[in-house]
């Protein structure tokens, strides 16, 4: 199934003086797709979103909406929905007036605008609050109103800039489900900016990981998590332990890296070259305690458990390896394997396909 492309970014860059806030971003967004920009603050994700909205102009490159170059269009002619970080509801207008505002701008009749605004308010689950002022609503309710206002005119593209950043954890989880529901029901195309990796994993069809103004990697949540191609992505999306070494051999998808702990095998990401420096990136949940004589895993290390942290659903543990470096492990509670205890000497291992060999650029 090929869906039409809604948004296309071609080599988009933004410089603030000598600083490149966004550098050469290419991206294609399909109809109905939910894509997240994930990255630390200052990585260029919000600036990219603002360029799509038309509130900032790219230094170079072009942005196309439904095949049409947006450059000559000011923000008020782009017909894109934007939900801002702190909602940006008009404090002097009632909830209904806020939602009807974009409809009035589109020359809808007064009654028609009001009826449409009421319908959208029902859609976000606040049917009775139309006459309130934004200041009389809770943070979560204001968020829903901001969403309703941006959805009221059925824009072909919805931009959201850390919309849940100001909410507490429970409310955030609730709103994530709510936004996902609206996305599914309305089939809208969404570009969502967040620095919360869990949020990105839960909601997105695809995630673009931003770092220093560049897209480091773009892909589906699972492939991004399981097959990161750079050290930054492996470290930013979930936890990883990095074991540095030198690539000894490379066959097809598997690389052998000679580390301080002997040779380790892992899935080779693009950019890994024989003879060059590389790191083996291991996810804590892939690390298994081995019994002596267990040879099912290609990689095995010795160490001593230096710390155990109880997390409810699991135990996180830190293993001090023979060379003094540390390795993170995660053990689900209630598994058959013996529970990790502080101070014990252990043998650990993981399969070659469960870890990634990444080019060590640092």
């Amino acid at each position: 199934m090929t869906r039409p492309t809604v948004l296309e970014l071609r080599g988009v860059s933004k410089n603030f003086g000598p600083v490149a806030a966004v550098a050469d971003v290419d991206l294609e967004l399909k109809q109905g797709e939910f894509i997240s920009f994930l990255g630390p603050s200052g990585s260029g994700k919000t600036t990219t979103l603002m360029m799509v909205a038309g509130l900032q102009a790219p230094s170079s490159g072009s942005i196309l909406l439904n095949g049409r170059d947006l450059a000559p269009l000011p923000p008020y002619k782009r017909n894109i929905g934007v939900v801002f970080q702190h909602y940006a509801l008009f404090p002097h207008m009632s909830v209904l007036a806020n939602i009807a505002f974009p409809l009035e701008m589109r020359k809808l009749g007064r009654m028609q605008a009001r009826r449409r605004a009421e319908a959208v308010l029902r859609l976000v689950g606040l049917p009775d609050l139309g006459d309130r002022l934004p200041s009389q609503l809770s943070g979560g309710q204001q968020q829903r109103v901001a969403l309703a206002r941006a959805l009221a005119y059925e824009p072909p593209l919805l931009l959201m800039d850390e919309p849940l950043g100001a909410l507490d954890k429970n409310l955030r989880a609730q709103m994530q489900i709510e936004i996902a529901r609206l996305h599914r029901e309305l089939g809208i195309t969404v570009l969502y900016v967040t620095h919360d990796q869990e949020e990105a994993l839960v909601m997105s069809d695809r995630i673009a990981v931003f770092n220093h103004g560049r897209v480091e990697q773009i892909g589906q949540p699972q492939s991004l998590y399981e097959r990161p191609v750079t050290r930054f992505v492996a470290g930013f999306l979930g936890d990883s332990t990095f074991l540095p070494g030198k690539v000894q051999a490379l066959q097809k998808e598997e690389a052998v890296v000679l580390t301080a702990h002997g040779p380790l095998r892992g899935h080779a990401s693009p950019g890994v070259r024989p003879g060059e420096a590389a790191v083996v990136a291991v996810r804590p949940e892939r690390v298994v305690l081995l019994t002596p004589g267990d040879t099912a895993r290609e990689n095995a290390l010795r160490g001593r458990i230096s710390d155990v942290i109880y997390l409810g659903q699991s135990r996180k543990f830190v293993v001090r390896l023979e060379d003094g470096s540390e390795l993170l492990g995660l053990q689900p509670i209630g598994t058959a394997s013996p529970a990790v205890t502080e101070g014990s000497e252990v043998l650990l291992g993981w399969s070659a396909t469960d870890c990634n060999v990444l080019a060590d650029s640092d």
Binding site: A88, F90, M93, S94, L96, F101, E104
Partner: protein
């Protein structure tokens, strides 16, 4: 050890004493204005409205009050327009040039009025404008603009500039975004500036002294020249009138400042 209630009453007494100190002179002037005596004595021997009648019957007072009101209205309107425009421009402009312009605009606040007055006088005298309405209005505008820049600037600072951006993304042109979002939100600041400008102009003496002539003078200038000659309760009657105008302006400002947050259901109100 002193009991806590003693401290509390001591504090009340201090507040009362300061209030009396601040308000008593004005109260005395108001009382004297109703005196039936030709002398400035307190308490007045009897009460009458003769000094107010005398005010109304003296053309010089009537004319000077009219001049003051004219100058006040023109100053307030012009200073508010100019100050609001300046504050809007400065709000979206950073850098050394903007800082310099801001300092220049605010300068009349720190320059003694006597200096401003002398400088304005020298210029307008060269142009032959002294004793004209436009000279008084222009002089007052220069003094009043910084108040408007300050109040509107403060309103703009507390306003979230993303609201204007949000209006743009929702389809409002910059002009409509300004009219529907920015302007309503900074209106309290604009009105405060307007009233400040009006009060400043109506009370102003020093610059007005330089720019007035016996043919065209503000009420404060006429009061000043009367005080230098014979003093009778007429002066307290005019002082009471001025006090009344100032208090009305102040009350208006207080009332308007309580009007914030009123829902504006433009377009789809019930």
């Amino acid at each position: 050890m002193t009991a806590p209630w003693a401290w509390r009453w001591a504090a009340y007494a201090l507040v009362a004493a300061i209030s009396v100190y601040l308000v008593a002179p004005m109260a005395i002037i108001v009382v004297i204005s109703f005196s039936d005596s030709a002398l400035l004595t307190f308490p007045p021997p009897g009460l009458s409205l003769r000094w107010y009648r005398s005010l109304a019957e003296t053309p010089a007072w009537r004319d000077s009050i009219l001049v003051s009101l004219q100058v006040m209205v023109l100053t307030a309107v012009a200073a508010t327009a100019l100050g609001t425009a300046a504050a809007l421009g400065l709000a979206s402009w950073r850098g050394p040039l903007a800082a310099t312009i801001r300092s220049l605009l605010m300068a009349p606040l720190v320059i003694p009025h006597i200096i401003s007055g002398a400088a304005i006088f020298l210029l307008f005298d060269a142009w032959g404008w002294v004793g004209s309405l436009q000279a008084l209005v222009l002089g007052h505008i220069a003094l009043a603009v910084p108040y408007v820049v300050a109040t509107v600037g403060a309103a703009l600072e507390t306003m979230d500039h993303r609201l204007t951006q949000a209006a743009l993304t929702l389809g409002a042109s910059p002009r409509i975004a300004f009219m529907r979002v920015t302007l309503p939100l900074i209106r309290p600041g604009i009105l405060a500036g307007l009233l400040f400008a009006a009060m400043l102009s109506f009370d102003e003496l020093i610059v007005s002294l330089f720019l007035s002539t016996p043919q065209l003078r503000t009420v404060t200038v006429l009061m000043w020249s009367n005080v230098l000659g014979d003093i009778d309760p007429e002066i307290s009657a005019i002082a009471t009138v001025i006090l009344l105008v100032s208090m009305v302006l102040l009350a208006l400002q207080w009332f308007l400042s309580r009007q914030r947050g009123v829902p504006v259901l433009q377009g789809i109100g019930r």
